[in-house]
């Protein structure tokens, strides 16, 4: 029986061109650029200098504060320089640039391929290992995982939900990972269950990945407490609030976290990374990236070392097509368009999509006809047309009352609008302004106390 979330949602065409393409290893490039902020929270602080020789898997930057993450070198070689570069988000930030020499790994990593099912670490040690290995959410949000595994006192986790939905069109990295590394993922989930001290885990997978559902269902019989649930294909099923609502019919209250309904959500890619970190002592320095697009010659999925420029990925896919108009890091609904191909692959890069120029431009704007379609597709029951108008006119207090901060920026409203209104652009503006206003208000009231 297929489950789904009850309100809103759209059905963009799947375009899963690379669903049947096995993951290959992308050759190690000559140079990598590793940014120090690949996660939500404070950027890591470098602990290496220009000219140092580093090995694959060595820590090159340490986390600053609790919500932060370690950064590891993905190659062995000499550090060329530590400089500011533009990354996939478009902003400039500090990065470590390494000239590659061979591929010497640090001795502590277990490079063998055999499956290790026995979990020797305790719950606290698992959390610590995640912090040390730089594990962050691999679905694209890059939230440091050890923070999610640390349950604050007064809250209880009853269930672990694993996000295998991959609702964005074109992306197939999670799909291939589930098909090819199913055992490792299930061990990783068991590790997470031990760390969270829960007995049950549900993996949610959209119904356009039937092979993955069948494969994991078969493998899961060997593991205690893990079930697979097939979900109806609807965007944005992969949003954690929608996933929780679909799987266990609980609504995360506005402004709160999934832990407030007793749930923690992790991506399948994160579960795989946790397996490698805990069982093989391998920190996070490579990930599966989908390179795809309608005019790409050989779209595919690759294991890529963090810091490889996306130019290498595009070359492996047959080179950049002449008519390329847009290059997107992430999915077409929520990804970011990059301005040049020298930007590096980071921990949150799930895919690179090349759009031909015919599909890159936005169509002409026409006036809002108040058709209400944006309201009907909003999965959070917000009123996008109203939030857009309020942000445009600068009425941010009213936007805050209308709960503009609830918006998860999925893009369904802009996708559906027949007048091609840039709804999400203005909602993002409104959100950033409202958050700023709320923060200033909190600071004033704290200062007054």
């Amino acid at each position: 029986m297929l489950k789904t979330f009850p309100v809103g949602g759209i059905h963009p065409p799947d375009e899963k061109l690379t669903a049947k393409t096995a993951v290959k290893y992308l050759p190690i490039p000559e140079t990598v650029t590793i940014p120090v902020s690949q996660h939500i929270g404070s950027p890591a602080e470098t602990i290496v200098n220009k000219g140092d020789y580093v090995k694959t898997g060595q820590v090159i930057a340490t986390s600053k504060g609790f919500v932060s993450s370690n950064i590891h070198s993905s190659v062995s070689g000499k550090i060329n320089k530590i400089d500011t570069v533009v990354d996939t988000t478009g902003y400039k930030q500090t990065a470590v640039i390494i000239d590659v020499e061979g591929d010497e790994w640090i001795e502590t990593i277990d490079r063998s391929d055999d499956l290790v099912t026995e979990i020797k670490l305790s719950a606290e040690e698992i959390t610590k290992r995640c912090l040390e290995s730089g594990i962050v959410g691999m679905g694209g949000a890059t939230f440091p995982s050890h923070v999610k595994l640390t349950i604050p006192s007064g809250k209880k986790c009853e269930l672990l939900i694993i996000n295998g939905v991959e609702c964005e069109p074109f992306l197939t990295s999670d799909h291939r990972l589930m098909l090819e590394k199913g055992d490792q993922i299930l061990v990783g989930i068991s590790i997470l269950m031990k760390a969270l001290k829960v007995e049950k885990a549900i993996i949610g997978i959209e119904n356009n990945k039937i092979d993955a559902i069948e494969h994991l269902t078969e493998l899961a019989t060997k593991f205690k407490g893990i079930t697979i649930q097939a979900l109806k294909v609807k965007y944005p099923q992969g949003g954690e609030k929608q996933l929780i609502k679909a799987l266990i019919n609980r609504e995360v209250p506005s402004g709160h976290l999934p832990l407030d309904v007793g749930v923690v959500v992790h991506n399948v890619g994160t579960a795989y990374a946790v397996y490698e970190a805990v069982q093989k002592n391998k920190p996070l320095f490579e990930r599966v990236v989908t390179i795809t697009g309608k005019s790409v010659a050989q779209p595919g999925n690759y294991f890529v070392r963090i810091g490889t420029s996306i130019k290498k990925l595009i070359e492996a896919a047959g080179g950049m097509p002449d008519d390329t108009g847009k290059i997107i890091s992430g999915g077409p609904m929520m990804g970011k368009a990059v301005s040049n191909i020298d930007v590096p692959v980071v921990k949150g890069t799930s895919g690179i999509i090349l759009f031909p120029s015919g599909e890159s431009e936005r169509s002409e704007l026409s006036p809002c006809v108040r058709c209400g379609k944006c309201i009907s597709v909003c999965c959070l029951n917000l009123e996008p047309y109203l939030l857009m108008t309020l942000s445009e006119k600068g009425l941010f207090e009213r936007a805050e009352e209308e709960k503009i901060t609830d918006c998860l920026e999925c893009g369904s409203c802009s996708y559906t609008c027949p007048a091609y209104r840039p709804i999400l652009d203005y909602i993002r503006l409104g959100k950033s302004q409202v958050i700023k206003i709320a923060r200033e208000r909190n600071m004033k009231s704290n200062a007054a106390k």
Partner: protein, 333 residues
């Protein structure tokens, strides 16, 4: 050929619907009714429809280009839909100059003065129709009876519509059972071979259009169902209370402009509410007001006025009636 990449923000892909496609979808949904009207009213229907459409588009073009000096947007299909719907509210023998005047009011006053597409609070076609009704009551209340594919226009033979028969008859003291002999049968009203405005007669054609719009996802079921449903419930109550003074619900739904109003006029995007909850309240309001005007008011037909009155409440409904947000914290009493 520029090699520059486009860096616009997400989403980077878009659905297939455009405003123009939606408008033309409405036009296609109106085609069965147009075909029925030509079948029953002949040349008159063609002339009235053509005049209305041409003058609406022409006035929109002239006003946008020479008065407002803004870019011309007649190709978005909204003036075409207004023209078509305005024509469907008129008798097929109405003189051309009245139609042109009505189009001027519909487009110029009800739409352009408020800022063009998307900004008008009142349904333009209905504003035009009501203006014509009040300014030219005689021409607007002489309804031709169906004469087949005739070439007659202003010389068409007129007769009373079913609603008018009931209204006049009740005033003269006749009872409903007596009057039911004089009005067309339910089947005749369903197929449309009765007196009335061009678009409102053929119930079956309108329902085909409704089905098309639902399948194409141009409108949702909320407004038409709530209008027709509330009329059905209200008239059933009145009929059960006094069957000799009140006609049965099926008659009320098929007679007059209820189906045209519920399916095409009340569901106009700009002037209807956007929230499903508000849509149901809006529809019920229209239904109740229509029946009140029909039974106790001076006019035999009340749909146009009911819709215009409820249009006035739409901004209020949009502002205060909201569906429960996802994860909204319910305040403990």
């Amino acid at each position: 050929m520029s090699n520059l990449l486009n860096i616009s923000p997400s989403p980077h892909t878009h659905g297939k619907e455009t405003t123009r496609k939606l408008m033309f979808g409405v036009v296609i949904a109106l085609m069965p009714a147009l075909a029925a009207s030509v079948l029953y009213f002949g040349m008159g229907a063609v002339i009235v429809t053509a005049t209305s459409i041409i003058s609406c588009i022409l006035f929109e073009f002239l006003i946008q280009k020479y008065v407002l000096k803004k870019p011309v947007s007649i190709t978005d299909g909204s003036a075409l839909v207004t023209g078509l719907l305005l024509a469907f509210n008129l008798p097929s023998n109405i003189p051309v100059f009245i139609i042109i005047l009505g189009s001027l009011v519909a487009i110029g006053i009800a739409k352009m003065t408020f800022g063009g597409l998307g900004n008008n609070p009142f349904n333009p076609a209905l504003v035009g129709r009501v203006f014509m009704l009040i300014s030219f009551p005689v021409q607007m209340t002489s309804w031709p009876i169906p004469a087949g594919l005739s070439t007659g226009y202003t010389d068409a033979i007129t007769g009373a519509t079913p609603l008018a028969i009931i209204k006049e008859g009740l005033k003269n003291g006749e009872s409903i059972s007596q009057l039911m002999e004089k009005v067309p049968t339910t089947m005749q009203m369903f197929l449309g071979k009765i007196g009335g405005s061009i678009g409102e007669v053929a119930a079956i054609a309108l329902l085909i259009g409704f089905a098309y719009m639902l399948i194409r996802k141009i409108i949702t079921w909320h407004i038409p169902v709530s209008v027709i449903g509330s009329i059905a419930i209200f008239t059933t109550i009145l009929w059960l209370v006094n069957p000799e003074k009140n006609a049965d619900p099926m008659f009320h739904i098929l007679a007059g402009g209820v189906l045209l109003g519920a399916i095409f006029m009340a569901t106009d995007y700009v002037t209807s509410p956007m929230n499903p909850k508000s849509m149901l309240i809006y529809g019920c309001g229209i239904g109740v007001l229509t029946v009140i005007i029909r039974v106790w008011g001076a006019y035999p037909e009340g749909v146009s006025f009911a819709i215009l009155i409820m249009n006035a409440f739409v901004p209020l409904m949009n502002k205060y009636i909201k569906t429960k947000r996802f994860g909204e914290e319910v305040k403990n009493g």
